[in-house]
Symmetry: C2
Subunit: 301 residues, 2 copies
Amino acid sequence: MSKLFGAVEAGGTKFVCAIGVGPEDIHDIVRIDTTTPAETLGRTIAYFRQQHAHHSLDAIGIGSFGPLDPDATSPTFGFITSTPKPGWSNTDIVGTLRNALHVPIGFDTDVNAAAFGEHLWGAVAGLHTFVYLTLGTGIGGGGMVGGKLLHGLLHPEMGHILVPHDRTADPFGGVCPFHADCFEGLASGPALHKRWGAPAEALPSDHPAWTLEAQYIGSALVNFICTLSPQRIILGGGVMHQRSLFPLIRNQVRSLLHEYIRVPALGGGLEDFIVPPALGDRSGILGAIALAQLASTEASA
Amino acid sequence: MSKLFGAVEAGGTKFVCAIGVGPEDIHDIVRIDTTTPAETLGRTIAYFRQQHAHHSLDAIGIGSFGPLDPDATSPTFGFITSTPKPGWSNTDIVGTLRNALHVPIGFDTDVNAAAFGEHLWGAVAGLHTFVYLTLGTGIGGGGMVGGKLLHGLLHPEMGHILVPHDRTADPFGGVCPFHADCFEGLASGPALHKRWGAPAEALPSDHPAWTLEAQYIGSALVNFICTLSPQRIILGGGVMHQRSLFPLIRNQVRSLLHEYIRVPALGGGLEDFIVPPALGDRSGILGAIALAQLASTEASA
């Protein structure tokens, strides 16, 4: 009998909860507004209890906003740690759900969850080393190295790398409250909005915003390529809904690398190297199902 | 009976070959000038054949200059690939040694070898995710993520990431023939020499060169921290012989991170987070012994 999983895409404005098996088989999905931790987690638990009356769940996967503790050996594993989101600092998400629902719980960042979903069923199936980057309200990155999800001291914060910023060409100072003109400060949705006076979705594809945006994204990708040597890079999130960005970014990366790394994957037009997510808008919730599958496998190992 | 290993630290100017077990037990060590591939590898083979008459070697490890192919499943595994070094492009180092010596061969970049040695016996023992960076004639980086040496499409080229470069404060254009003012172009030994008109070792510890150098290294480390979330970073190589750089770099990293990543390891003075190699000048050859140990274990698995 095939396994059945619960999934939580835990975001700052909504928790999407679902029951399913994989991309071809999502039984049910609901949306819960993110309010206080007690109320939001209470409604999440109520949802799974109600579903559980009909279906026995093998595990639940949670892809969450952060910062969070993804280290299963840590005393604060499963906590959202020091988030600026009011009321949510030091929230024990995993413990709260496990105590109420008594199933194995998989837990990781939203971007690592999405990365793992794309690894099981999407744009990086069969690859062991890749980056998944989402560009929207913020910029976040996850991925795998050697078949393992990227963890370490904590988890990556790829949006906060530093990239060249020519203040003569672009005097905009950046919007990151911590680092001003880090990658996220220069290239997130709010940065686009503030610099150009209009939201990203209102900027036409021939607007100069996109050439500049591709320069910053291209610099960041060169840094990820030189640091991790990924086999492929997935770019998702609201900013990437502007599909004309993809060729601009590929040109920028090719130009910046300057044929330094001579491998076939980096030799051509990079169409198969820098790609959109295959799971589209479902990458978050499918990623959470993927984490549940991993937790179920580990629990029965 | 304990195992005995051969080791090759394959560099652009010399091949250091050794026989040993680990840091406490190096039986023999020789230096061979790097000339043509045929001559250099011929002398390397002759050395191990002569040693082999007295000691039976369980495996040989090679930490090499690159670019190279470290993927054991690739048809060009063990090759130096597209190096600018005359005569060495497409040199099958592993195949040549294995055909002559009939032992398992471990092979990786010089920096991944050194990283693995530090993992077994040095500054990152017990850690699963870390970066090893060497700053000298070039800048190279390696390390592990989740207990696996960093590979992917090829191997990292950490010296070639892009970092902020304020041309008003530092009009120097950089020395990298591929990327001009990438990290290596701005902060390698030759960059220091060309910018200040004197080699690094001739610049006193209070020279303004070191403040600027710490800014570039600090920016690069922030990028590695945000991308990989390392538990520790080792800084080695000739440039780091200027020990006053360590506190300058730690201050720079702390200032640039701006308390964004709140974990104990990044909370204090970073003395235990940004460290010199514990194996010192022997990290290269001990890293090659470490690769031999890994190859021996894998061969008998």
